[in-house]
Amino acid sequence: MNMDLLIPIIITLVGASTPILLAALGELVVEKSGVLNLGVEGMMLIGAVVAFAVTFSTGNHWLAIVCAALAAMASSMIFAFLTLTLSASQVATGLALTIFGTGFSALFGQAYTGKPIIIFDSMFPDELENHPTFRVFFDHSPLVYFSLFMVFAVWWFLNKTRSGLILRAVGENDFSAHSIGYSVVKVRYAAVAFGGAMAGIAGSCFPLLLTPQWAEKLTAGRGWIALALVVFAAWKPFRLLAGAYLFGLVMTIELYTKASGSMGLLPSEFWAALPYLATIIVLVLISLRRSGNSAAPACLGKPFMPGQ
């Protein structure tokens, strides 16, 4: 494969992976605190529609990202209130959040259907951005650099800071954390809020980075891939990065086959289904390999009810 094709593929791949990576990083922190939020897809859609609306009316991308993060965070607080304060089932509430986000974004986005916005592009000087080789490093949206920074930041937070230690402790053994004197519910609220904000930013990637035109269900199930990716990465941020780019590669192949019309051996629907197929295969392989000895946080998905 020559460089003329390789470099655009890498750039597309990195762009396509970024929303998955951001959402999965948020969910990783949430799950490390012992909460399973299946509402990632819904929160991403809320982030996507808010980012689109703000960009459409103000043209300010940064403002759009902040608003997307805040809106998705607000929706995650509904989830947190139901599951953490009222101890509702995390699975059911998370699914409800996804349904809510899908409906909300469809309703709120109706007015914008088919309308375009300007993409949030690279901010480097043109010489770097258009350099035949080095553009592989520079021709990316600021959101891409942000996602890479967050990989490191999440790793550092979880493994090197005291707050990260407490968060892991809460996810590992909530009753022990409670008896030592940490507020399990407060830590989990904070984690869910962070996960919501990250899902919102992930959602904003769709209009700002990938398809600058509003359409219903813009995120196309990528929130579910993010959820699977957390398991695939065994709750480790750097493995998450590798996983996200692997999925990005599969999705890029789909785009290129569609665009070039080649690879006529298989219908384009096959390539479109490939990322989801890969998700299922990865989950099956992981379950086989790690039966009985899971790397999952021990309290994942269990409601915390401090009784006697």
Binding site: E172, A177, I180
Partner: protein
């Protein structure tokens, strides 16, 4: 000098139970104060209120003479109260260092903390590698983490909740040295235990609770173990009735060169274990937790199956290849160490739990259906014979306290009248009265001709119960000898891995 801690009129009401009823006592600086009582007497609740996990409904706590409200454990630690829990509040997937850091309120850099930990460990002779993951440690080692964690805070009052149940006699002696050293430095100790001889050896004062009420405060050195036990249970204590110098029948359970594969990283496998238990004999297996007891029990019960049928024989018949049910049919019943989740299903009723292990032997199934009335009757009998405190056969196993669930499980297996019974920790967490009843039931079963294997860390229990004794260490079993031939020191040395020592 004011009292370090003073409780007056502490009362705590739970739905349906008065856990503490107007309890008052005081602890002096440097005093080692025992808190005694049966399961459900209210010791844990009382201690939780001192440590700020719960708030009393009425009454006052005074600290160094000043009335205080202990809002939460953090506030307790700020006052200088440390606690070592019975059920360790540890995080399995984290290292020793991380676990200790979590228990510290002050933010100390990891390197500095490690230095401090090493210093405390050296001062008090507690060996531990700060970088090991807790999941790979034995129960005894886990306890050391808790002790180090508490000592790092320089406590003025240290609460110890049943700390010695997992230690060898030498380790207990070591712990006592630590506690005496602490007390001489002015730290008060509130010591919860049901091992009365330990309380006599260690404590200056004992407060005895029964049914949530304070029944007596006494000097344990002036009391006998028996008199304190009787105050605890409120009636006279029965002795184990065991005829002296009886002879045993033919060999019933013969184990030869039993070896298991690696049983996961929580326990070591057993390696070339051989022993014989005769009809009417009780064999005690002593050892510190994590030396292969779990693997041995699983290999005997059939959960771990070997590849040699004759490694285990019952009445001369090789059962080494049979599964759990097959072995039950041959008359071998087993009680694993973990009560909730292994020996019983917490979300099932007691009647359903009876069906799980007793269905064949007690005729609870016919033409593929469960005979619920038979299961209920059997469960009722267990509840009555072993005085299990439960509402009835329909109570969920998980709703019973640890001691009551243990009584139920022991009853479930003993009443099946198995030819061979293998039990691990038959009286762990059970109070003196109930322990005596379980011990008597085991002796009666042996007198009726069964062969019994008791795996335990409680040497008192083994010395009272067993006819012959062997010690397990690193998956290997010492030669079984009559229990009278062992001295406590020798058992301790064997448990610690020093073989071939002459009997003292």
């Amino acid at each position: 000098m004011p009292n370090r801690l003073e409780l007056s009129g502490i009362t705590k009401q739970f739905p349906g139970v008065l856990a503490n009823d107007n309890v008052s006592f005081s602890v002096k600086p440097g005093e080692i104060h025992a808190l005694l009582g049966e399961n459900g007497a209210g010791k844990s609740t009382l201690v939780k209120m001192i440590y700020g996990i719960m708030q009393p409904d009425a009454g006052e706590i005074r600290w160094n003479g000043q009335p205080v409200v202990v809002q939460n454990p953090k506030a307790a630690r700020r006052l200088g109260i440390g606690m070592v829990f019975q059920h360790f509040s540890l995080f399995e997937a984290m290292t020793v260092l991380e676990n200790i850091a979590l228990g510290m309120d002050a933010k100390i850099p990891a390197r500095e903390l490690e230095a401090k930990i090493r210093q405390v460990m050296q001062t008090y002779g507690l060996a531990l590698d700060p970088h090991r993951t807790v999941a790979t440690l034995s129960v005894g080692e886990r306890q050391r983490i808790e002790i180090v964690r508490a000592l790092l805070l320089n406590p003025k009052l240290l609460i110890m909740d049943e700390p010695t149940s997992v230690l060898t006699p030498q380790e207990v002696e070591q712990l006592f040295t630590v506690l005496r050293q602490l007390a001489s430095e002015g730290c008060s100790i509130l010591y919860i235990s049901h091992k009365l001889y330990e309380i006599k050896a260690l404590c200056d004062t004992a407060t005895i609770l029964r049914g949530g009420k304070l029944v007596d405060t006494c000097d344990p050195k002036q009391e006998t173990s028996r008199s304190m036990a009787e105050k605890m249970i409120g009636t006279n204590l029965k002795d184990i009735v065991k005829p002296e110098g009886r002879s045993f029948g033919p060999a019933k359970l013969v184990v030869s060169k039993l070896t298991t594969k690696k049983a996961g990283h929580f326990d070591v496998p057993v390696n070339g274990v051989s022993f014989t238990v005769r009809s009417g004999e009780i064999l005690g297996i002593a050892g510190v937790a994590g030396n292969g007891q779990n693997a041995l029990l699983d290999a005997l019960s059939g959960e771990l199956r070997g590849d040699d049928a004759n490694a285990i024989t019952i009445d001369g018949k090789g059962v080494g290849l049979l599964d759990t049910n097959g072995r039950r049919e041959q008359g071998l019943c087993a009680v694993p160490e973990e009560r909730n989740g292994h020996a019983a299903v917490g979300d099932f009723t007691l009647a359903d739990n009876s069906v799980l292990t007793a269905r064949e032997r007690m005729g609870m199934v016919g033409s593929g259906l469960i005979k619920t009335s038979v299961a209920k009757l059997y469960t009722d009998k267990i509840i009555a014979d072993f005085s299990v405190k439960a509402l009835g056969p329909q109570s969920l196993a998980g709703s019973l306290s640890g001691g009551n669930l243990q009584k139920y499980i022991m009853g479930r297996e003993i009443l099946q009248k198995p030819g061979v019974l293998v039990v691990s920790q038959p009286t762990w967490g059970v109070d003196a009265g109930a322990a005596a009843a379980i011990h008597q039931a085991l002796v009666d079963l042996a007198l009726a001709g069964s062969a019994i294997v008791v795996i335990s860390q409680d040497l008192d229990e083994l010395r009272a119960l067993a006819d012959t004794l062997a010690v397990i260490n690193m998956g290997q079993l010492s030669e079984a000898r009559p229990v009278q031939d062992f001295s406590v020191e020798e058992i301790g040395l064997l448990m610690g891995g020093i073989h071939g020592t002459e009997a003292a």
